[in-house]
């Protein structure tokens, strides 16, 4: 028997508030795992979409059929002599057909259509002077349009950014709601243990001792709940479909590598949150209880 042991026991283990704290912390930790995954996934998606489209460009060349090859050569010559261009490659008809098949179907006679010729351009990290390049192309091959994917990248980046913001707001809301629930549960726990508080005060316990006893119990319960919720959340994330095939979006929403360590921060953060919420509530309630 020692003082710490008794301090840990003065608040009864039973009580609805104890279950409320454990369950709410568990549920919120479970949701926090998914919000965290969403935030990480959105960041990864933004990075991968950006990486896939940055430092690349496409030149779309429209010209009469008899001038197409000549203008293609002119465009390639312009590109070869432009600083900031690493490589340029004309897309072969089969690749072009494969791209269009998704939109026009496999049976359309593409040979009969006046399709523009596409040239894939790889830029150096510094990139070319795009305005100057566009002027040169306009002069040498008037049917060539230099597309650096900006109009595709911007909405993708914006979408990913909003998705990430949404996930972070969700995490904030989860934290706020958890704090509010724990504060409420702490208030209920203190109110339903007035007799305990009365006895402790009778024997000379100061508010900080009483508060510590309650906060300790509440934080421990919140930590246990959060640990269980986090474990379940991580198991659920692990059970999500893996990357590959046609599930590119889902593939970005899981944890990868060291990212799996991040949800492990949820239980200690839950304990910290519960400690703060319960402590503030305990002192507020104890000031009122005479």
């Amino acid at each position: 028997m020692n003082a710490d042991e008794i301090t840990g026991l003065v608040v009864p283990r039973r009580g609805q508030s104890v279950w409320l704290i454990t369950l709410s912390a568990g549920a919120m930790a479970f949701l926090a795992v998914f919000s965290l995954a969403l935030a990480l996934g959105a960041t990864q998606l933004a990075q991968s979409w950006g990486a896939a489209l940055s430092q690349t460009a496409t030149i779309r060349l429209s010209a009469p059929p008899d001038e197409m090859d000549t203008q293609t050569e002119l465009v390639l010559e312009v590109l070869r002599t432009t600083p900031g261009i690493e490589a340029a490659q004309v897309m072969v008809p089969d690749e072009q057909a494969a791209l269009l098949e998704a939109w026009l179907g496999p049976d359309l006679p593409l040979d009969a259509l006046p399709l523009p010729r596409l040239i894939e351009v790889t830029e150096t990290p510094e990139g070319p002077d795009r305005q100057g390049l566009r002027l040169r192309l306009a002069a040498e091959a008037p049917g060539a349009v230099y597309d650096d994917h900006t109009r595709w990248r911007r909405p993708l980046a914006e979408a990913a950014g909003r998705l990430r913001a949404l996930a972070l707001v969700s995490l904030g809301l989860i934290g706020g709601v958890t704090g509010a629930i724990i504060a409420l549960a702490a208030s209920v726990a203190l109110a339903s243990n007035r007799q305990v508080i009365g006895v402790l005060r009778l024997v000379g316990a100061q508010d900080r001792f009483i508060a510590r006893a309650f906060v300790r119990r509440i934080s421990l319960r919140a930590g246990l709940g959060a640990l269980a919720g986090t474990a379940l959340g991580m198991a659920a994330m692990a059970a999500l479909p893996q990357a590959g095939g046609d599930v590119h979006l889902l593939a970005g929403l899981g944890f990868r590598g060291a990212g799996w360590a991040l949800p492990l921060l949820i239980p200690p953060l839950a304990i910290l949150l519960a400690w703060g919420a319960a402590r503030a509530t305990a002192f507020r309630v104890l000031r009122r209880v005479t």
Partner: protein, 223 residues
């Protein structure tokens, strides 16, 4: 140790008692008597700060009750042992843990041997691991006394400590309080048991205070 100046307390819109001026010195032994509802328990509650006076002042160990912070009040209570009429315990803790509570809550040195010795002193050594609800009325009173004195209090306040006990057990409990008083603790016992008062007065020099007609008086020699 306890100084009252024109102390008064109101209850239910009227005065329960008034104009109480007295001084309880270190190492003294006092009984507080009076009919039921006269305000004996209320006076004890004023002594350990559970109630505040409606009029006048009460100072305990130099501190004016009602003018101290909650933390200061707690520090005063650490120097006072209280035996309640209804023996409030934490029912989910063992008797030994309840008895050790005043030390645990104030981070004072806690030795299991001391707790066991004290439980043996009140005859509860075999009930150390029992839960309070399983104890009889007399055992609860003795456990409450053990808890009240484990912190070596300078003042012991006991409210009808023998109310639930037979005469033999009442004598035993009173003997424990007398022994404590001989070690220097000021004792104030609220009781209406005149036989118990006579038993104590046969062994020590105890004064008897009586609350009657809303006044506190020193009782006469008939006691």
């Amino acid at each position: 140790m306890i100084v009252c100046e024109e102390l008064g307390h109101e209850y239910g819109g009227g005065p329960l008692f008034r104009d109480v001026t007295l001084r309880l010195e270190k190492g003294s032994f006092h009984f507080l008597t009076g009919p039921s509802g006269a305000g004996k328990s209320t006076f004890l509650k004023l002594c350990y700060g559970e109630l505040l006076p409606s009029r006048g002042t009460i100072s305990v160990m130099g501190e004016a009750m009602g003018k101290v912070s909650r933390d200061e009040l707690a520090e005063i209570r650490q120097r006072i042992g209280v035996v309640h009429q209804d023996c409030q315990f934490l029912d989910h803790l063992t008797v030994a843990q309840n008895v050790a509570l005043p030390l645990a809550t104030t981070r004072r040195a806690l030795r299991e041997d001391d707790v066991n010795d004290l439980l043996a002193w009140v005859g509860l050594d075999r009930h150390a691991d029992a839960l309070p609800p399983t104890l009889s009325g007399g055992e609860r009173q003795r456990a409450a006394l053990a808890r009240a004195v484990i912190g070596a209090p300078e003042i012991l306040l006991a409210d009808e400590p023998t109310g639930n006990l037979d005469w033999e057990m009442s004598q035993r409990l009173m003997s424990l309080m007398i022994e404590l008083n001989r070690m220097g603790t000021a004792v104030l016992v609220a009781t209406h048991d005149l036989q118990l008062i006579r038993f104590a007065k046969s062994q020590i020099n105890a004064r008897v205070l009586r609350i009657a007609q809303r006044r506190m008086q020193v009782a006469g020699a008939e006691l």
